[in-house]
Symmetry: C2
Subunit: 249 residues, 2 copies
DNA sequence: TTAATAGTGTCTATCAGACATTATTAC
DNA sequence: GTAATAATGTCTGATAGACACTATTAA
């Protein structure tokens, strides 16, 4: 750093710029009872007191954005930040000038995928949090409805070309369990036989553990082979959504 | 709004939160002389005075994020915000606590695609701006090297499944010109015949104008048919990068 | 025994890519 | 004429999806 720069920094006044707050909001998806569910919190104070909203909060002074998102998620669910089965990615940033009545708030939204998590723990601030099936979500506070819709779009397309479906199931899983994830998120029935062959044909998507399930299906059928997530980060070829046939215009 | 909320807003103190500044930075790509080029500005003041950086600046008080990005781009290039051939999309947000030595700065990065634009106009603040081939970009200020790399990745994959390549060419274009865009951005040689057939087979990608070029190619060949962008927003099936064959692990 | 499920086999239409061919133009 | 290019044709291997079939298990 030059002497000039040091002088500049010393005289620099952050207050000269309009006050802005930066928050993170998290769209956390998990699958419970064959339904895609999202973590929501009921706002304990104004604005929009009593409305459901995405979990989130202000970014702390020395905190990275993704760290803040992981912290907010952990505060609501108790899921360890270091949980390797948790996927966290940046979704987008929402900064319309009037999106929060208090002041200019720019929110960086994150998308989280996790296997079935325990019920949320009520934080010390007595906030109520709950996993809610996305089909039952009504109106949300602020622009969180838009953020949730964007997160859902992202999740649906991410299943196509990444192995992220495996983050919704346990360490070891059957092909049928993996298919259930796709069917739940895409809201589409998939052909069991073709799905099976397709998944095994994609290099690095899943790898066999050599074991099979303890029992067959609840309504009969042979015991299924168990797999774990492979080392692929992208799926080639991709698994495309059936309904995507019609070109979006 | 309830009475309680009104009271709350009146007593709300934005200064209670750590000071953060929000900026936008723009990764603006265009194609000049068969090279993918990005718009850079030389920093006129500290920090990193004299270094090249992405164009950008602070978001104004009542300004939307995308509006701010369009404004910053217009200030450097003179390209009208209303230019319909300009594509602008949010790329991502960069907020590492130490990414700017002045203070906590969270930057929302935007990605812009445009047909060959005029040379940048020097702003009243005497900033120097220039279109620079991405292959010749050296070190950039702040974390702008990372942002540029992310923007390049995004641009390359966007060409696969969206018709955005058409934003790099003029209103009317030949298939060969479109192919040149793909070859430039992907840095791959494509098979002319197969590319031609593929582009015409994707519904809504391009539509014929009925006209042909005034002259044949500079080194001979028939006059090519002219096309304009179609109404598709997504390409089905997609044009996949040849080198993507190897699964990324 | 019955029904459901896991996993595999087969067939067909489609598509990407390699390669060839024809027509048209600049020089 | 010669070389380059636009546009189209042909062939092959790979793949998605429809459908069929066998083996295995719960009830």
């Amino acid at each position: 750093m030059t002497v000039n720069e040091a002088e500049f920094l010393a005289s620099y006044d952050p207050r000269a710029y309009p006050p802005v707050a930066v928050t993170v909001d998290v769209v956390a998806f998990t699958i419970r009872q064959d339904a895609l569910t999202v973590l929501l919190v009921r706002r304990a104070g104004p604005p929009s007191e009593g409305m459901w909203a995405l979990p989130g909060g202000f970014v702390r002074e020395w905190e990275d954005l993704s760290t803040a998102a992981a912290r907010e998620l952990a505060e609501e669910t108790g899921v360890a930040t270091a949980n390797r089965r948790l996927h966290l990615e940046q979704l987008g940033t929402y900064g319309a000038p009037d999106r929060d009545p208090r002041m200019r708030v720019v929110s960086v939204a994150y998308l989280a995928f996790a296997p079935d998590l325990p019920d949320p723990v009520s934080g010390s601030d007595a906030r109520v949090a709950a996993w809610t099936p996305v089909g039952e979500v009504d109106r949300l506070a602020f622009d969180h409805g838009t953020i949730l819709a964007d997160g859902l779009d992202r999740a649906r397309s991410k299943l196509e070309y990444t192995p992220l479906a495996t983050t919704f199931v346990g360490e070891e899983f059957t092909i049928a369990e993996l298919r259930a994830v796709y069917e739940t998120v895409w809201d589409e029935q998939l052909h069991a036989g073709n799905f099976h062959r397709k998944v095994l044909s994609v290099p690095g998507f899943v790898e066999s553990t050599g074991a099979v399930t303890e029992r067959g299906g609840s309504r009969g059928g042979p015991r299924a082979k168990l797999y774990r997530a492979g080392d692929a980060r992208l799926l080639h070829p991709a698994l495309l959504m059936p309904s995507k046939e019609e070109t979006v215009r």
